[in-house]
């Protein structure tokens, strides 16, 4: 192609992308070179056809689809939605039978465990010992109830073993009927001491106080009765 314009020069000349000096040179060459003019005409025809290519028309489907996809992308999914999507990726049951079977089995297991727990609770295995304990013959300094050790100090019983339960919250009280393990309130220890083992305190706010005779009062009445003594 010696003596003729390079294809790049012709193409760039067509696009007016040559610097002025090169453009003038190409123009001068083309004015007296029929071969290069023919090549330039060929390029011009190609470019003309490319320009005639119709602009792509955006399909209506795409017009609606992309914004919808973007909205899905933009919407933050809730935890439930993300969990559902993950479950669907992991397990897609072809029929509802396996899922229904699993749910029934889970329900049966739940009922069984619940009934077992109720039965165990009724048997007292999980409850705090709160029943009468016969007194051994003669004065006793220590009583073991379950895994808890109670020590008699003066006229009242106190839990001796230290655990998660505060000693002042659980006290064994000696009465004429026997030894009763009770739940007490803070500050009741002194009352127990003053009542000389005649106090029975129940769970909660209600305290039953036996002094000279059976009488019932709430915790507010304890001090009054103790004062009467």
């Amino acid at each position: 192609m010696s003596g003729h314009l390079a294809a790049e020069v012709l193409s760039a000349y067509l696009d007016e992308e040559l610097v002025r000096r090169k453009s003038e040179y190409a123009e001068d060459h083309l004015s007296h070179c029929p071969d290069c003019r023919q090549r330039l005409d060929g390029l011009r025809r190609v470019v003309s056809r490319l320009h005639d290519v119709e602009a792509a028309v955006l399909p209506p489907y795409l017009s609606g689809q992309i914004p919808a996809l973007i909205s899905l992308e933009a919407t933050p999914k809730s935890l439930v939605e993300r969990f559902e999507a993950r479950v669907q990726r992991l397990y897609l049951p072809q029929s509802p039978i396996p899922l229904a079977f699993g749910l029934v089995m889970a329900l049966v297991m739940t009922v069984y465990v619940f009934s077992w727990a109720v039965q165990e609770r009724k048997s007292g295995r999980f409850s705090v010992p709160n029943e009468k304990v016969p007194i051994e013959s003669g004065p006793s300094e220590e009583v073991v109830l379950g895994s808890v050790l109670f020590v008699r100090r003066g006229s009242f019983w106190q839990q001796a073993s230290l655990g998660k339960t505060s000693p002042s919250r659980r006290i064994a009280v000696s009465t004429e009927e026997g030894t009763r393990v009770v739940e007490t309130m803070p500050g009741l220890t002194e009352l127990l001491h003053e009542s000389s083992g005649a106090v029975v305190a129940w769970q909660g706010e209600v305290v039953v106080l036996f002094l000279e005779g059976p009488s019932v009062s709430d915790s507010g009445g304890v001090g009054g009765n103790a004062g009467d003594r």
């Binding site: 790049e8 190609v46 470019v47 005639d52 955006l58 689809q65 973007i70």
Partner: protein
């Protein structure tokens, strides 16, 4: 030159960086504006690169998802249109890969075979010479790097400098690719050297 007009329509309205900032801070209208401006351009480029309308739709969806995810990181080092051209072409390259694009013969509406072999005589091409479809099919027979350059120049209407920015090559490389692509196209369409 429809593409030039499309680019010109980008100029008014929000600036590119402002659009990106609005998108970054959650303004949904910003992305809608980008979509309205560039959807035809992206789809057209995907169509020219893939040669298949259905595939072009899939590519366009993916491209806009990419744009949506990364528009906030657009820093304004180029125009937004240049950046979107780059994103689109990169995605087309990665999705289309080295797979030979539509090597099956071109079936014109008349049933004539126009381009199956670049060495076929010009008489076959004459049957559909005036149809843009033939030119579009001929483009698919160009190597990807030439096709990109020719499409950006002669269909999208970008300058050599803009094409160089989109393709991340020098202007001299752009000039060479356009010239070689046009020459191959001329041979495909007219069948003989001048």
């Amino acid at each position: 030159m429809a593409a030039s007009e499309a680019i010109a329509t980008v100029l008014p309205g929000s600036s590119d960086v402002e659009l990106a900032d609005r998108h970054r801070y959650g303004d949904e209208a910003a992305f809608e504006e980008v979509y309205e401006r560039f959807a035809p351009m992206v789809y057209g480029l995907c169509l020219r690169m893939s040669g298949d309308a259905t595939r072009a739709q899939d590519l366009s969806q993916d491209v806009f998802l990419r744009i949506f995810r990364s528009l906030g990181r657009f820093g304004g080092r180029s125009t937004l249109s240049t950046w979107i051209y780059t994103v689109t072409l990169n995605h087309c390259r990665s999705r289309l890969g080295r797979r030979r694009l539509r090597t099956e013969s071109l079936e014109l509406e008349t049933g004539e075979r126009a381009i199956e072999d670049p060495c076929r005589g010009p008489e076959d091409l004459t049957l559909a010479r005036d149809t843009g479809k033939v030119v579009g099919e001929a483009l698919l027979h160009l190597p990807t790097r030439f096709r990109e350059a020719v499409v950006l120049r002669d269909i999208e209407g970008l300058t050599y400098a803009e094409i160089a920015s989109v393709l991340s090559v020098r202007v001299g490389t752009v000039r060479s690719r356009i010239a070689r692509g046009r020459e191959q196209l001329r041979v495909l369409l007219e069948g003989e050297a001048p």
